[in-house]
Subunit: 179 residues, 2 copies
């Protein structure tokens, strides 16, 4: 499957509502527990998604369009949500994520990107040359990697409770990590 | 985390709306593609969840309460959705899943299960002795294993589109399988 911008936007537009439906009002035993030291809870992950809306996707898209390969992206702070989510409720974070995502998609649509724009190149501080198309596809796949992570973190809380069924539950055997 | 029936019901009640928000109206490039031969698309997975509502969770709970360990559960048909989803749209499947889940949770709540009920034992055809508590915890973890799988199957469609970012996307490195 090639990158299709309409497909990307369709997915990006749905993620906030999907996380809202899954997480809002859910007992904190599901939403505030993680997988152990230096790992993230569902609450942490929503905070990370918010930080991405503020500093990663559209800011980097603008940098590609303005500076091309001449200026590398700012490195992304993977632990920013530790500060930024402090004192907030999960409901507040879900509202904030939905609002920022909606604003960013409005800005993306207004750019009215053409295939030649999507082919434009930028400079990632670690990965080197990347295209705008790859950046936008990654925005969508990044939502999915964190939906994948949230389901794994939550399932982890029932690791013992499921007893012998753990053998059949693939999510309990997932060793992947979401950056 | 011990098994807590209220937490289990809270999660089970949210899954249909979460899948609805994620999948309804999404382009078929996301929902009908799988990970290769003998693997499932998001459409297939919703069909599998429906089959579980019909034949797995509450029927097995009733069997434990009626027969204890004296009668093994019916084996679960993991490919039933190939027949049962034929000719249906994803929107129809999402409606059907939500309706069946709601009916099953009404039945579960009406049982008004006490701790001594949750400790009752049944016979799994392959796993041997299991408890009602483990069955109900597995129902919730099974939702999560398939949310995990759906996010992985969808991300797979963008494996090439993300370019060098694939190194950072944990979901693209997940080797777990969901039974």
């Amino acid at each position: 499957m090639q990158h299709n911008l309409q497909d990307t936007v369709a997915l990006l537009a749905r993620t906030p509502a999907a996380l809202d439906a899954l997480l809002r009002g859910l007992p904190e035993t599901w939403t505030l527990q993680n997988e152990g030291e230096k790992t993230w809870s569902a609450f942490d992950i929503v905070g990370h998604l918010i930080h991405g809306e503020r500093t990663d996707w559209m800011p980097r898209a603008r940098m590609i369009l303005q500076f091309g390969e001449s200026k590398a992206f700012e490195p992304f702070d993977r632990w920013a949500q530790e500060r930024e989510s402090q004192g907030k409720s999960l409901a507040q974070l879900l509202d904030e994520f939905a609002r920022l995502r909606s604003e960013n998609l409005n800005e993306l649509r207004a750019l009215n990107l053409k295939p030649e724009d999507l082919a434009r190149r930028g400079q990632h501080p670690a990965l080197g040359v990347v295209t705008l198309s790859q950046l936008l596809a990654t925005w969508a796949a990044h939502d999915l990697t964190h939906l994948h992570q949230i389901s794994r973190v939550m399932a982890h809380q029932y690791r013992d409770a499921v007893g012998p069924w753990s053998a059949y539950l693939g999510v309990l055997h997932c060793a992947s990590h979401s950056a």
